[in-house]
């Protein structure tokens, strides 16, 4: 007898639906699986056979053939165990006919007949809902994650026997339901790290605020122990909350990468990824024979924090250039090119020199050459993509002990949301979201300046011999500062502040000059 069960796997971060066909007929007893299978899928054979046996069902000695269709898509992942088992049982007549209508099944089996959680459930269920499926059978561990998809009933199971009983009417079960709003509110309230814990460093905080408001990339320079990492960690907390769609997209990435945990089945908070500087290129971009998302994709909609920027491998850092421009990364393989989201905000931190204390010459004994060499490790093209550069000051005891109450993240977030709203309105007819995405034409269109401001930037342009590129960057940042100020026209104080944040293209970049 023949039976077909729908199932799915992931391809990149997209779900792909796969049909599992089983046929049980007379002949020499054997178990055959075809359909371009990866080794973990081929191994499903043993798992399925034993899981069925240990669930108390005898498989009669018959010729069993399993086909995974379409035959030209390579199947990988362990989510095929459960559909294969159900297809066999259905072919054997153990399942009630018609159970599999509009139903998608995914899950891995243990030898004892348990259903185990897998990676990449969300993209598959999402795809299935899009194609009109009404029911999804998933492992209990992935139940909540899948339940976020609207328009499909999700049932989570822990044992193979429960699944059989459910379809045969011996087990009543309600579809899993998650109150999305409540789930979001609960999780957001739990965000602990707040900007009010950071004493002093007002100029860095301000720079961060500007950076977040316009989604500009930022570089924080400073001696060790001045709170660079502390500040960076708090950046996701002042970013506007994720919308449901954004959250969905992000969760799909995390689902494929297997980074969802029990407490966070849905990504509610903006991600903060801080890879160590020994990270390889592939780990950063994503990759592998069947590409999985890397750190830059996991940081999507959030913050990619590169601490000790100068210590990173130069080639590893170089590959950030294209994603920073485009907001996604393409990973090309022989038969297909995969596109992963990579629209993160880049936050970098580094010491001003090898020992970290420059320009405090009492402590720093690096020579000018060493300092230049240290800073020179960061490539100019990457620096060109960092709009804001700020230096944290070494704190003395007075600052730390003063404990002047500083602003909370909520206050800052409010201002940022206001600035974002201005940008949203401004770019409503464009396909860009933030000031940072503006190109030259947009800048000419949206960055109107007061006469004083024009004079100021023109003088600066002459005096500092700015390039056209850095001129545009200054204007983009000035636009954001004016948005934060609630001004339509850019004033000279906005230009003044924006020029102060330049620095990566500053001629003093590690090069002291006198006279």
């Amino acid at each position: 007898m023949y039976c077909r069960v729908d199932c799915g796997t992931t391809d990149g971060i997209d779900g792909v639906l796969i049909g599992v066909e089983a046929d049980v007929s007379d002949g020499l007893p054997m178990f055959d699986m075809v359909g371009l299978l990866a080794s973990e899928v081929r191994e499903a054979k043993e798992r399925v056979k034993i899981a069925i046996k240990n669930s108390g069902i005898m498989i009669p000695p018959k010729r069993i053939t399993i086909n995974l269709a379409p035959a030209d898509v390579r199947k990988s992942g362990s989510g095929f165990d459960l559909p294969i088992a159900l297809a066999i049982l259905s072919s054997l007549g153990i399942m009630m006919p018609g159970w599999n209508e509009n139903t998608i099944v995914i899950g891995e089996l243990g030898l004892n007949g348990s259903v185990k959680g897998i990676n990449g459930v969300l993209p598959v269920v999402y795809e299935a809902a899009k194609q009109g499926f009404k029911r999804a059978i998933v492992p209990k561990a992935n139940e909540i994650e899948a339940a976020f998809v609207q328009g499909i009933d999700v049932f989570g199971f822990e044992r193979l026997t429960d699944v059989i009983d459910f379809f045969n009417g011996r087990l009543a079960k309600e579809a899993c339901y998650v109150d999305v709003e409540e789930y979001f509110n609960e999780r957001i309230a739990g965000h602990r790290e707040d900007f009010c814990d950071v004493y002093g460093q007002d100029n860095v905080k301000r720079a961060v605020e500007v950076a977040v408001a316009g989604m500009h990339n930022i570089l924080i320079i400073g001696p060790p122990g001045t709170g660079k990492t502390m500040i960076a960690k708090r950046i996701p907390g002042i970013m506007p909350s994720l919308s449901f769609d954004e959250s969905m997209r992000l969760t799909r990435i995390y689902s494929v990468a297997g980074k969802l945990d029990e407490n966070e089945q849905m990504k509610v908070a903006r991600p903060f990824r801080a890879p160590h500087h020994t990270i390889t290129t592939t780990a950063l971009t994503g990759g592998g024979v069947y590409p999985s998302p890397g750190e830059i994709s996991l940081a999507s909609k959030g913050v990619l924090f590169l601490d000790e920027l100068a210590e990173f491998n130069k080639d590893t850092i170089e590959i950030l250039r294209q994603p920073l421009e485009d907001g996604y990364i393409n990973i090309a393989r022989l038969n297909k090119s995969y596109r992963f989201d990579a629209d993160f905000m880049l936050v970098c931190a580094m010491n001003p020199c090898k020992c970290g204390y420059y320009p405090d010459r009492l402590r720093c004994r690096c020579t000018t050459g060493q300092i230049n060499k240290y800073l020179g490790r960061i490539s100019r093209p990457l620096l060109d993509r960092i709009d804001i550069c700020v230096e944290a000051m070494a704190m003395d005891y007075e600052h730390i002990s003063a404990k002047k109450s500083s602003e909370t993240s909520a206050d800052i977030k409010q201002r940022i949301e206001r600035a974002r709203a201005v940008q949203k309105e401004r770019f409503s007819k464009k396909d860009i979201l933030y000031n940072n995405d503006m190109n030259e034409n947009d800048i000419a269109l949206y960055c109107a300046m007061e006469n004083e401001a024009k004079d100021l930037i023109n003088t600066a342009y002459e005096k500092y011999k700015l390039t056209a590129r850095s001129y545009h960057r200054i204007l983009k940042v000035a636009r954001t500062i004016a948005d934060l100020d609630g001004k339509k026209i850019i004033g000279q104080q906005h230009i003044g502040e924006a020029i102060c944040y330049r620095g990566a293209d500053n001629k003093y970049w590690g090069n002291m000059q006198y006279g």
Binding site: G200, D202, P352, P359, V390, Q493, G503, N506, W509
Partner: protein, 377 residues
Amino acid sequence: MDKFWYWITGIEGIGRQKTKLLLDYYVTPSNVYQEALRNPDRILNGLGVKDSVKRYFVDSLRFIDANYEALCEKCQRLGIKMVCVDDDDYPHQLKNAVPVPYVLYYKGKLPDKKRPALCVIGSRQCDEYGMKIAYLVSKSLASEGVQIISGLAMGIDKSAHDGALAGGDTYAVLGCGVDICYPPSNIDTYMAITKCGGIISEYPPSSKAMKHHFPERNRIISGLSDGILVVQARKKSGSLITVAHALEQGKNVYVIPGRVTDELSEGCLNLIKEGAKCVTCTKDILEDFEQYNMDSDNCFTKFKDNNAKKIIENSLETTEKIVYASLRLESRHIEEIRKDTGLKLQDVMTALLKLQLKGYAQSTAVNYYSISLTNMI
């Protein structure tokens, strides 16, 4: 006669001390040469050198003329001039140096014997205070006609040269061939000195900078000058070696004081304790050089013209004035300036930018600012 000097200083493996021994005994290099031709073993065994050096020595005797011609041709090609201790234009002050640099190679010119020369030295790892003072004092002295001599190293040396170039002429003594700029990052200063002053070395052209060359060239730096000014030196700074040379040669030692708590100036303060002259204005140095009139009150740490300060302040807006008042010679972080002035961060940034554009302030590192020097003196 010349060729014997270049011969005796150009033998690999026979260094300064051995050459001095030979000359002490035979008085002139030509005598050494004659003796060497007659009985090379007597000389070589007396010096106790290795076999390879012996072979090289015997070869050099044979090729003395060819080698000398090749050297002359090379120097001419590279625009390098040579002078040996017997020449008239050899700087006579150097004869006090121990051991005497028998030959000198130079680009540009040698210091003028009629005008006083001062060497300005200090640490390579210095802070802005040191660099700025070195710049200012050199500029001020150079504009009074004093020749500034230093070593073209990073830090104080470079600033001293740069300052002197802004006011007059300056001379750099290198630890490598004069056709090599070491450290390469100082190429701008190097080029400027060849046009306005001179690059001097006792090492033949194309000699690489070796570690042991630098203490050796220090004796030339101090030898060429009438006094020595130490700007910033740690407790165990290399500059103190130069001071020791200068004291042996009977030169005046001047010191720019630093703060008591400042490690970078610890060596300087110790020198003051030991009796060096503490310098707070250009006059302190000039008064020791007889030909200078003491009417000009040239004080490098202040504006030359009292009006200048007023003119600057009048040209500034209110916020700029407030910010300018909180700027120092040492660089300060923008947060410190903001705390001092009590202004909003944005206003401080704008004021600093305007001050920079007007040339009254400068950014020394990201978010660090100090007073600019162009409007002083």
